[in-house]
């Protein structure tokens, strides 16, 4: 079976800086695939190229086997790719309901249908009690849920989540994980960029690790966490050896 999303040799250069270098990745339909890496590894850059907010210097993006490398964002959304933003971008002056309805309007022309869909999605992500609040009055956790809800309202097949758990406290993270899993169980494939390791370990089927713009490891989360190159990317060169020695001394 061909994967839902496939990127090949994706490269992004900002002047002299090689932000993403020849990255390859596959997202199987129905999976939760994680993309992790230390700060500045190029995760968000890679992510924006998949969502169509930046054009790659080189390489290709395929969705359902079709090349979409140069498609504008709104066309990708139309085809079923939705994204959230790492730095939340609510429509601050609108209510939660109106915010979600903007996403719902993509597939529902009539206002009443869009509002009904917005309510349905709000229930799914646990925003129902806040529907008539203005978006600017939400807490960080609320805003993250709103990001999720708006993206879901476009009825995507592939959901790109950019650090939806960043900035949340442990109990908020515990609340959010079942929501993300529930979305996958409803049939939406998820690619998640995440810093919070606990979440990646418990959510993802496959994890890709990006460091300094290059893909250095891929596989099931447990394998990746033991991978020497991954440990070194996070903790510095020689860290894996030191950890082993430390364990031996103890």
């Amino acid at each position: 079976m061909s994967p839902l999303l496939r990127i090949e040799g994706l490269t992004k250069r900002f002047g002299g800086l090689l932000a993403v270098d020849d990255a390859c990745l596959q997202v199987e339909a129905g999976s939760i695939t994680g993309l992790i890496g230390p700060n500045g590894a190029g995760k968000t850059t890679l992510f924006t190229m998949i969502a169509g907010f930046a054009e790659p210097t080189q390489g290709e993006v395929f969705y359902k086997g079709e090349r979409i490398t140069e498609l504008p964002t709104h066309v990708r959304t139309m085809r079923g790719i939705a994204r959230t933003f790492q730095i939340v971008q609510p429509f601050a002056g609108l209510t939660v309901r109106e915010n979600i309805a903007v996403g719902a309007h993509l597939r529902h022309r009539a206002r009443a249908d869009a509002l009904a869909k917005a309510e349905e999605v709000a229930v799914q992500v646990g925003l129902e009690p806040l529907l008539d609040r203005p978006a600017h009055a939400l807490t960080v956790a609320g805003r993250k849920r709103l990001e999720l809800a708006r993206a879901l309202a476009t009825e995507p097949q592939l959901l790109l989540l950019d650090e939806v758990l960043a900035g949340l406290n442990p109990s908020e993270i515990r609340d959010m994980i079942p929501v993300v899993r529930g979305i996958r169980d409803s049939g939406v494939t998820i690619l998640i960029v995440e810093h919070v390791m606990q979440a990646v370990m418990s959510l993802c089927d496959t994890v890709y690790v990006l460091a300094e713009g290059r893909m250095i490891a891929a596989g099931p989360p447990a394998d990746v966490a033991r991978n020497q190159r991954v440990i070194e990317a996070y903790l510095g060169q020689g860290a894996a050896a030191r950890l082993r020695d430390g364990a031996a001394h103890a």
Binding site: A51, F53, P72, T73, H74, T77, M78, A82, R83, T84, F85, Q89, P90, F91, A92, G93, L94, E98, A101, V102, G103, H105, L106, H108, R109, R111, A114, R150, A151, A153, T154
Partner: protein, 322 residues
């Protein structure tokens, strides 16, 4: 809630329609008719600036195109006024689309967009002032032939009612706008363009549609101006005065609201009249520009204390009281 707004539109329109039945005064009628023209221009601005968040300083470009279109179609081509009006409106929409295409495609936003629209309006003004086709600096005179067939009314109330009908139509259009996908996407773009794009809004297409609609509405105001005064020159049609009034009225009345431009236009013009009379009585002679001083003060007060205009202020006070 939807029905409440529709009902309010009906009540306001009816009240405004009945107003001139109480007065016989020409002064009052002229004031009302002029207020309708400014309202219409401001409603046009409000579609793009209020709902779409794209602040134009150059709505004179659309007003003037509507005004000159109306005048020249009749004078140079002998087109009937009732036919000339929709053409003038279409011309205004086309100018809007063209200016939008050039500036939005270049991703101009905020003050850059404002300055470019201002520049376009000035280019139109200077061109109209030198081109013989538009009558140059002498302007263009529409021959006086009082006949409803020519959209020239002996009974001034008819002219006022015509303008009111257009204002009411635009009230309905803005109401529909708020209930539509196009409106939702336009407001989303005002709030956050990147997020709107991520949710499937084609930002360029939505903004182009908005500026064309905006240009068409403001051009309708221009065409009414022509029929009311039957004389135009470049400064009247394309001058900065109308750009300023078109944006001041919604800002003072309530930006991005359905009734804001209407309320703002009445406040602005009413205050202008009061100021002129006051200074004339006080100083024993007209002081041109005194009303502009008051407008300026009002704008500062509004931006400082009521950023969402009078309607926003009322809503806030009501919220506090409840």
């Amino acid at each position: 809630m939807k029905d409440k707004t529709l009902l309010l539109i009906a009540i306001v329109t009816l009240a405004l329609a009945l107003l001139p039945l109480g007065f016989e005064s020409n002064v009052v009628l002229n004031f009302l008719a002029f207020a309708m023209i400014i309202t219409l221009a401001a409603q046009g601005w409000n579609v793009l600036g209020g709902f779409g968040g794209q602040f134009s300083f150059g709505h004179a470009a659309f007003f003037g195109t509507g005004a000159y279109g109306m005048a020249l179609l009749q004078v140079r081509f002998g087109v009937n006024a009732w036919l000339a009006m929709p053409i003038a409106i279409a011309l205004g929409a086309a100018v809007g689309y063209a200016i939008g295409f050039l500036s939005f495609r270049a991703r101009l936003r905020g003050s850059y967009f404002a300055l470019v629209t201002l520049a376009f309006a000035e280019v139109f003004r200077i061109s109209a002032n030198v081109w013989s086709f538009t009558g140059g600096a002498a302007g263009v005179l529409v021959p006086l032939k009082l006949d409803p067939w020519n959209m020239q009314f002996a009974d001034k109330r008819l002219g006022y009612w015509l303008a009111l009908a257009l204002v009411a139509l635009v009230l309905l259009i803005t109401h529909r706008l708020r209930e539509s996908r196009f409106g939702a996407q336009l407001i989303a773009i005002r709030e956050n363009e990147d997020a709107a794009r991520a949710l499937g809004a084609d930002a360029l297409a939505v903004k182009l549609k908005a500026i064309a609609l905006s240009g068409g509405i403001t051009a309708a105001a221009g065409s009414l101006y022509t029929q009311k005064f039957l004389y135009l020159d470049a400064t009247l049609a394309y001058g900065p005065w109308i750009s300023v009034e078109a944006l001041l009225a919604p800002i003072i009345g309530g930006i991005g609201t359905i009734f804001g431009p209407l309320l703002g236009a009445f406040l602005l013009l009413g205050l202008g009249e009061v100021t002129k009379t006051f200074f004339a009585n006080l100083l024993g002679g007209a002081r041109p520009g005194a009303d502009l001083v008051v407008f300026g003060v009002l704008l500062i007060l509004c931006v400082a204390f009521a950023p969402r205009g009078v309607l926003g202020l009322l809503a806030r006070l009501r919220g506090r009281g409840a």
